[in-house]
């Protein structure tokens, strides 16, 4: 049996410290926590930075490093720094050094990096070793060169290699959410289906139980099943909460693809051991013929500047479509004329917050709002250009009249400066897998004594 302590769904989301103490007292074999995902958008991967505040990360990570010392078992974080790119891993390593020095201790740290140089992927592409998933954007050498960061999602094999080093702390770049949890049970010969299924159920912490924000859970994997035990007061796992978690962020609630195979939970049985714990058996791991890892990449797609104005005059609210269309036309013409830009070199979009800014063309309801926020989004080929166009748009959003006959109106600007420079905007441009002969071929493992 292998016991994994999972403090929460992600470092930065917080965990219940009392429940964490209970977890340490339960003598886990490993502490595992996820550090990120793609869910916050492409900018974090594109820039290679964390979405969480450094101070929050530092406090929570310090608590887990302390827990590691008390439990005397490895602490593993996957997808460090939200995106798992090398710079984000280095950021967490730096924080770890600070914490260790503050706690007056030293530790052996294994650092697994998942960064993919464009040259490696260009060769793999030419050799037919990169395969698109569905739906996948088309890729080329140029797309790969354009990416500011490309990572591959490590699986259980690469985490196992890090665990074998005997490090106290393992800081991993991009991994699958489940790999950091499944690796140790798999190494110890526990049931593979149970290891992966338990990892999927446990990877969001107590989200698979009641009191989902409490975070801390225990996962026990043995030779034919796994058991989930939430540790905070008021947190209970039931067959319903556990089985329903397979729905979460999953395209298919029965199948989960991982490096080296897939998990099939079609035949899983969920059984309440008591009011708090659930045991699950019957999950199946199906190995694949090829060993592949999923790729994620982000590239700059333009530079943006944002402006916001608020309409409170019912006449303007009622005619906002015409008003916005007129501004877009006039401002575009002015930009082409004054900045000498081609028509396709920039975009100006006005979104009506209070009407359809959330769903766009899919919105099927309408009601007259009390006020309407107009969000002006400028996109251009450089930051300076986007800001310059933003300044050209500013007077329209402040004073543009619906007709030439009326007195000059003024609208409510919530900020000065009215132009908010967003800088580079990124896009995800890979939904592909890379075939590897050896799981470590695309990953690096380094040992640090800090």
């Amino acid at each position: 049996m292998t016991r994994i302590l999972i403090p929460s769904g992600a470092l930065g989301l917080g965990y219940d410290p009392v429940a964490l103490e209970r977890g340490i007292a339960a003598k886990p074999d490993l502490i595992a926590i996820d550090g990120g995902s793609t869910d916050s958008g492409p900018s974090y991967l594109g820039r290679g930075v964390s979405k969480y505040a450094r101070a929050s990360t530092r406090i929570e990570w310090a608590g887990l490093i302390e827990a590691q010392a008390k439990a005397g078992v490895p602490l593993v974080i996957g997808t460090a720094g939200t995106c798992g790119a090398g710079t984000a891993v280095d950021w967490l390593v730096e924080i770890t050094r600070e914490i260790l020095s503050e706690q007056g201790r030293s530790a052996k740290i294994a650092v697994l990096k998942s960064d993919q140089p464009a040259e490696r992927l260009k060769s793999a592409l030419a050799a037919g070793r990169i395969t698109p998933l569905s739906p996948a954007p088309s890729i080329s050498d140029e797309v790969l060169d354009d990416c500011t960061n490309i990572v591959a999602l490590a699986g259980a094999e690469q985490i196992a290699a890090a665990i074998e080093i005997g490090a106290e702390i393992i800081i991993a770049g991009r991994t699958t959410d489940t790999a950091i949890i499944a690796a140790l049970p798999l190494m110890r010969g526990d049931h593979a289906g149970a290891a992966w299924h338990g990892a999927k159920i446990g990877e969001c912490g107590a989200l698979c139980a009641t009191n989902p924000q409490s975070g801390v859970i225990l996962l026990d994997v043995d030779t034919d099943s796994f058991t989930i035990t939430p540790l905070a007061d008021g947190a209970n796992a039931t067959p319903h909460t556990v089985s329903a978690h397979m729905l979460y962020e999953n395209t298919d609630p029965f199948i989960l693809y991982e490096p080296g195979g897939h998990l099939d939970v079609t035949g899983a049985r969920y059984e309440a051991l008591d009011a708090r714990r659930v045991r699950v058996s019957g999950s199946r791991w199906v190995p694949s013929a090829r060993y592949t890892v999923k790729l994620e990449g982000a590239r700059v797609t333009g530079y943006q500047c944002m402006l916001m104005t608020l309409l409170r005059d019912p006449h303007y609210i009622a005619n906002a479509d015409a008003w916005c269309a007129d501004i877009e036309t006039r401002c575009r013409a002015k930009v082409i004329d004054r900045l000498g830009l081609a028509a396709d070199a920039f975009e100006i979009e006005l979104r009506q917050i209070g009407r359809n800014a959330t769903l766009g063309a899919l919105e099927n309801r309408s009601a007259e709002p009390v006020e309407l926020g107009i969000m002006g989004i400028v996109t251009a080929g450089s930051e300076a250009l986007a800001d310059e166009i933003g300044k050209t748009l500013n007077p329209y959003l402040l004073h543009h009249p619906l007709t030439q006959q009326e007195e000059q109106p003024t609208f409510a600007f919530p900020f000065s400066p009215a132009e908010i420079s967003i800088g580079p905007v990124y896009e995800f441009c890979l939904n592909h897998v890379l075939e590897l002969d050896d799981p470590m071929d695309a990953f690096t493992l380094e040992v640090i004594h800090a």
């Binding site: 793609t38 089985s243 329903a244 729905l247 609630p253 333009g302």
Partner: protein
């Protein structure tokens, strides 16, 4: 005719990676599940999201009283045209469907 959101426990939508969005309808009882499965056809969902019905994966999970749909995002998460980074608001459109 009542709206789906008033009958069921919860509707949630969320990204399933940057290229897919998934919508879970937690019906809460066998009766409501039966009603929802019948009323919410894949074609109705396709019309709501303006996408081909063939692109939608449909799962009727009787054990959980859950109806689930997954579909490729019409625009990739976080691209310039994306208004909803986490795919959070799609649930509202489903909640507002009328159910006989």
């Amino acid at each position: 005719m009542p709206e789906l959101g008033a009958l069921v426990e919860k509707v949630r939508s969320k990204n399933a990676g940057p290229f897919w969005v998934t919508i879970d309808i937690f019906c809460g009882s066998d009766t409501v599940f039966g009603q929802v499965v019948k009323a919410v056809s894949t074609d109705r969902v396709a019309a709501l999201f303006q996408c081909p019905a063939e692109s939608i994966k449909r799962f009727e999970i009787a054990d959980l009283n859950v109806l689930k749909f997954s579909l490729p995002r019409p625009v990739v998460q976080g691209s310039r045209q994306d208004c909803d980074m986490h795919g959070a608001a799609w649930a509202a459109l489903i909640s507002e469907l009328s159910v006989n």
